[in-house]
């Protein structure tokens, strides 16, 4: 729901010069934006972990796909890193 528009902002609006570096950094530094971004990182990563894991199982790579910790662990670490980054600002 939100991914396409985010890709549009960073992939079209920034290179096109519609949003300056100062505006973008102040947007990212805004506490509300930070909260939303960390929340999205959490959702995106767990979305990926679950789907990618089962896709691997479905493709016959069950040996890898059954290592649940690998996928959800990566998602958890990514979320923690994003959270720490947001707190660091």
């Amino acid at each position: 729901m939100l991914l396409p528009v985010m890709v549009f902002v960073t992939g079209v609006a920034v290179p096109a010069g519609w949003i300056s570096e100062e505006d973008l950094v102040s947007l990212v530094r805004n506490p509300a934006t930070r909260l939303v971004l960390v929340g999205l990182v959490f959702l995106f990563l767990f979305h990926w972990a679950h789907r990618f894991r089962y896709a691997l199982v479905d493709l016959g790579l069950g040996v890898v796909g059954k290592q649940a910790w690998l996928f959800y662990g990566t998602a958890l670490i990514g979320t923690i890193v994003a959270g720490l980054a947001a707190l660091r600002l």
Partner: protein, 126 residues
């Protein structure tokens, strides 16, 4: 002793029907979501320092980033589009004795998607 019974499944089962293939492609678009999430984490991490954020901003403006974004945008739209197409199938609504038109549900979800996207663009660019 109990043993697990696993039905053998050929590895290329998803190439045998268009619908299976579309399903597998949809599942694999999640890799693009993963890649984009790394970019979001980078943005959050670099925003603490002006220099680091400049590197991030310069990367976004470069042609490599634009190409990657186009690929991710295509996959993300496929993911969102197929999800919108799916909404009437998982949300079966009844009004009295009549089933609510599936196109109405998918249409309403599409409008919601456009409104959210519009709101984000407005918030970011205004």
């Amino acid at each position: 002793m109990t043993r697990e019974v696993t039905r053998p499944l050929p590895w290329n089962w998803w190439l045998k029907k268009a619908a299976y293939f579309q399903f597998m492609m949809r599942e694999l678009t999640s890799v693009a979501i993963f890649a984009y999430t790394l970019l979001v984490i980078w943005a959050l991490w670099s925003a603490a320092e002006v220099g680091a954020f400049s590197t991030f901003y310069t990367f976004l403006s470069g042609s490599l980033s634009v190409w990657l974004h186009m690929v991710i945008l295509g996959l993300a739209l496929y993911h969102t589009g197929t999800w919108i197409a799916l909404t009437p199938k998982v949300t079966v609504l009844w009004k009295d004795d009549e089933r609510v038109d599936p196109d109405l549900i998918a249409g309403a979800t599409s409008i919601l998607f456009l409104m959210i996207s519009g709101a984000v663009i407005w918030l970011v660019l205004m």
